[in-house]
Subunit: 627 residues, 2 copies
């Protein structure tokens, strides 16, 4: 059962406590194992049976009675913020009920301090990656795929290197001259999925991987190294173009870290990447679903800030209105910025503002939709307007948080996007507004317990589709392309890291609505290889034709080119059904309903081919020959 | 102002009654004319001014004081059903408040008697068509387009001809040997739009039209002729295949007649046609909107029954759930029919039923999805099961209304379909269920007062788009095609009567979800040529590229053919902007915002071309060459 110990512990609990007769407890546990896992086959049932039996191997350990009253070490000596000690830790210790109302003074509106997740240091992984520098080619792919942002590349200058007590490599790249490089693992934050080690190409010349999974105990010495890197090594992201490629993107500090997502989660690497690219000016409207739970379950907030104190603003709404919720944010933002532009225009004719400021205002108005330019101008404008007492400057100073062009994101799962919130999603993309919708597509309602959505493909087992779904997966992306002015992409990070990055970058840059559908392996899929292979599963999915990579970029059509780009190569269809057999959601259909499984798996393959052929026709269509 | 007399009457009212000083009344009327119609241009304002002035031309007529107490002629001597006399007429006379609760005994659930509209005989048209038999080629196009089902072809046998006191022609067609033909107008039901006369091709050899608009007074003698045709001439629809072509379709009795829709309504001819093709087994789930108002505003019910007492069942739900409402009907129907099949299967092994009945049961099970076959079998099975006392026959007899394959329709406007009910529409078409959705596309929320919908094209003025809509019309049809298993069509009856008929026939026959988007000119468009040209406007729309005709038939793909068929010819784009200028919704933009009008009309044309080119590429794509 790998890392799963809950059945062993439950069995031990019954044996030790005797709350019900032990024989009855064991019998009932085994009965429910058959009920819960019977569909998944004899092998799974037997493994669970074995886990129940292993509950008998408990040992009695003496406990010093004085331990019962030991003070909490952390609470005594740490230098963490008061909010962490006085609010977050009591809640995590299940003492939230004891908090007085006054503990929430100033945040009565529900605002919650960001960055609280990093204080958890759960240390729950059985195995964590160990970095083998001699095999590392500094590609940063490990950091790119990490669902919990707990493996990161650090670049140290000579000053920082002096204080460091760990191995480093000479940093590759001329912008890092005289600097050193290290992959550092946050071993107490890691959930031990192993995707980093799985995607690590290692050094082709030497053969070995640069990351090897080792027991947590053996890696505890890395904890202070992580603290040093995170706290004392300054980011070098300004030395590279972080949007240029996968490697560079990982030099940007992730502003989403240590969430409560499952080990190996297929969704969070996308969420994290967006914070690395746009986090300092990002606003997120999040649908209900897994992503709303791991992004903000009190008291844990994984969204955090950069060294300037800037980070994403995040809020959660319902399945059915998440896109409208995000569009409201965008409209409010547009209005505030239009107001700035109006004041700056009025100021041109006044005597109060300096010529320098007037020129800056003019430049801002001309570039107000350019993120980099407005960042630059904001740094110049802010101190000047704050230092001036005229009515124009005072009002602009009061609106200074709107000076930088924002990046509006709307994030939801397939249940929200394909089904319950689809009417709103359609209305929002139709609006033409500059919002970016990220669909974390697990092909099932993951968080509510595995109900079938319109994204669930033919043949998959889900609630409301217990004998296999009988209708095709909806092609949400193609629907959005019919507007002609919506940027659309289907991505799968594990299949093509560069394509995923490119699509996210293009979507954000496109000055209109964007929709990115991101394939996200999930524990509900039951990967036989385990969630440590979540990235590999994406690669397999694309290679066999289960998932297709494409982009539809209206900007290309404006240049007279075909806006549809098929990024997937011709699949190897022979592998399609083997791929299905590697996931319990399909495999269990074969065990329960073999005849239906054959029929539905063939239908699934036919449908995947049908979709691919449609995409191919679109990609190959003659373009620019019309009247 | 053509048929519009309300302004003249209002002006006369103020002059006669003196409820406020006449000068003030005239001044205020003119002020509000500028407010209401200023946008539509000086010409419209001046016509309204002239109407106000014409209110001064009233004449005093003496009224016999005894008339005040004359009894209602109709109520005294007629032979109409009690429900009409006791419930419908009091409500129409605005005496509904006086009805006792007991008047509604037996219909407490809201059920309303069908066919009440035919008793209204409003006689409100100023002009009605007169049939000129010498120019008639018996094409029946006039009946096809009539929004109110008040012009119909009748075929009389020798018996019926003997009793008739009107002119007839020898009926064309060998199935009508020895029979005569007549186009009969229901002059008291007609609203005088004139579309029948407009579409009449006349006799090319003789040159004249077969329908000419004449004053109602001159045509009152036709009223008893209509009564004779409707009441005493039996339908001859069984002699032809009514689904085969436009001409034949009009020999079928319309089961939707004399609704309260506007004169020249672009929607009702589609609704009526569906009742002619499938009305005896049709169920309608109707969204809120114009179609829910004219289809069932107490006490008027235009849905009616055929000579066997069979007709559509109709109910109305909300904008936001109309498709789910219809899908619920379909599911309930499926369940009841599955139950019949189960009982019939069980009966095979029993001793109770006769061998004849068992054979009929077997045949029914094999053909339960075939409309014609189940009609035939129902006539044989019903008397037999009603005459038998076994438990199987008893139960089947109790379910006899489910024996015939039903035709499930879901009808709504563009507001319901493109916007508020779209999430549900998408969910229902995704389900794969055998429902037929008809979208009556007026490109605006007609019934609620002209708000912009996602169907409203670029440049049109509507509420929430007062300076012209700035984003493109949504392509609802193309979205639906992405499922691959949804039959989709765009039609415009006035542009291609045969294509509209073919699409409706194919949609209904397709054993899965169907979506038909029907272009429907509306008074809210402000046709400069008037609603008497509503059919011609559709032809112009298609010829200039404003509207496109196409069908997507998944059944073709199953045969290895391209499922997408473009039925529109290459438009004459030079006429596009002239077309826009023929409708107030566009024209008023030119008057108010000439610069925006130029920009938006160009954008509208570019978008129409973009859509057409996409359709053309789809229609011309290489097919069947894939792996």
């Amino acid at each position: 059962m790998g890392n799963r110990t809950n059945t062993i512990l439950q069995s031990a609990f019954f044996r030790i406590t005797g709350v019900i007769p032990v024989d009855l407890a064991i019998e009932q546990m085994k009965k429910f194992i058959v009920k819960s896992y019977g569909k998944k086959g004899e092998d799974v049932v037997n493994k669970n049976y074995a886990a129940v039996d292993r509950g008998g191997e408990y040992k009695q350990l003496p406990v010093d009675p004085s331990w019962a009253n030991l003070p909490d070490e952390d609470a005594e000596v740490n230098t963490d913020p008061a909010f962490i000690n006085q609010v977050v830790r009591p809640i995590n210790a299940q003492d939230g009920d004891l908090l007085p109302v006054s503990a929430f003074k100033g945040i009565e509106d529900g605002t919650w301090q960001q960055s609280t997740a990093k204080y958890e240091k759960r240390g729950v992984a059985a195995f964590v990656p160990e970095w083998e520098p001699e095999n590392c080619i500094q590609c940063n792919k490990c950091a790119y795929v990490c669902p919990h942002a707990c493996i990161r590349p650090f670049v140290l200058d000579q000053e920082e290197q002096k204080e460091a007590s760990f191995t480093t490599l000479k940093a590759v790249g001329k912008q890092f001259a005289d600097m050193t490089f290290r992959i550092q693992v946050g071993v107490l934050d890691c959930l031990g999925c192993g995707n980093c080690a799985d995607v690590c190409p290692g050094n082709p010349k030497k053969g070995g991987k640069a990351l090897v999974m080792k027991s947590l105990e053996s890696q505890l010495a890395e904890a202070p190294n992580w603290e040093y890197c995170v706290d004392s090594v300054k980011t070098k992201q300004h030395l590279v173009d972080v949007k240029a490629n996968v490697k560079n993107s990982q030099f940007a500090t992730p502003l989403f870290e240590f969430s409560g997502a499952c080990s190996g989660c297929g969704e969070t690497p996308y969420v994290k990447l967006i914070t690395q690219l746009f986090g300092d000016r990002e606003i997120v409207a999040n649908a209900t679903g897994c992503s709303s739970i791991y992004s903000g379950s009190v008291p844990s907030t994984p969204y955090t800030t950069n060294d300037k104190g800037q980070g994403p603003a995040w809020a959660n709404s319902l399945f059915e209105d998440f896109c409208e919720f995000g569009m409201g944010m965008e409209l409010a933002n547009e209005k505030m910025r239009a107001r700035i532009a109006r004041i700056m225009t009025e100021a041109q004719d006044s005597d109060c503002c300096s010529d320098e400021l007037k020129a800056l205002f003019k430049e801002w108005i001309e570039n107000m939709l350019d993120a980099d330019k407005t960042k630059e101008l904001t740094e110049k404008i802010t101190p000047l307007v704050e230092g001036c007492d005229c009515k124009y400057c005072k009002e602009i100073a009061s609106l200074k948080h709107f000076l930088v062009k924002r990046s509006q994101w709307i994030i939801g799962g397939d249940g929200a996007s394909y089904d319950i919130g689809f009417g709103g999603l359609d209305h929002v993309i139709a609006s033409g507004k500059d919002v970016n919708i990220l669909v974390l597509d697990t092909e099932v309602y993951s968080n509510t317990g595995g109900q079938s959505s319109k994204s669930t493909p033919v043949g998959a087992i889900a609630k409301f589709a217990a004998s296999g779904k009988r209708i095709r997966k909806k092609d949400l992306g193609m629907m959005a392309t019919t507007y002609g002015y919506v940027y659309v992409a289907q991505i799968a990070m594990g299949a093509d890291q560069a394509q995923a990055l490119k699509a996210i970058r293009e979507a954000e840059a496109y000055p209109g609505p964007s929709l990115i559908i991101a394939y996200s392996p999930c524990i509900s899929h039951g990967l036989k290889a385990g969630m440590g292979k979540a990235q590999q599963e994406q690669e397999d999915a694309v290679k066999c034709g289960y998932w297709h990579l494409w982009r539809y970029n209206p900007a290309l059509e404006n240049e007279g080119k075909n806006p549809f780009l098929l990024d997937s190569k011709e699949p190897n269809w022979d592998d399609f059904q083997n791929f299905l057999k590697g996931e319990v959601r399909y495999m269990s259909l074969m065990k329960q309903y073999p005849a239906e499984a054959t029929e539905l798996f063939n239908a699934a393959q036919e449908n995947a081919k049908w979709r691919y052929n449609n995409y191919k026709r679109l990609a190959n269509q003659a373009w620019g020959t019309e009247a």
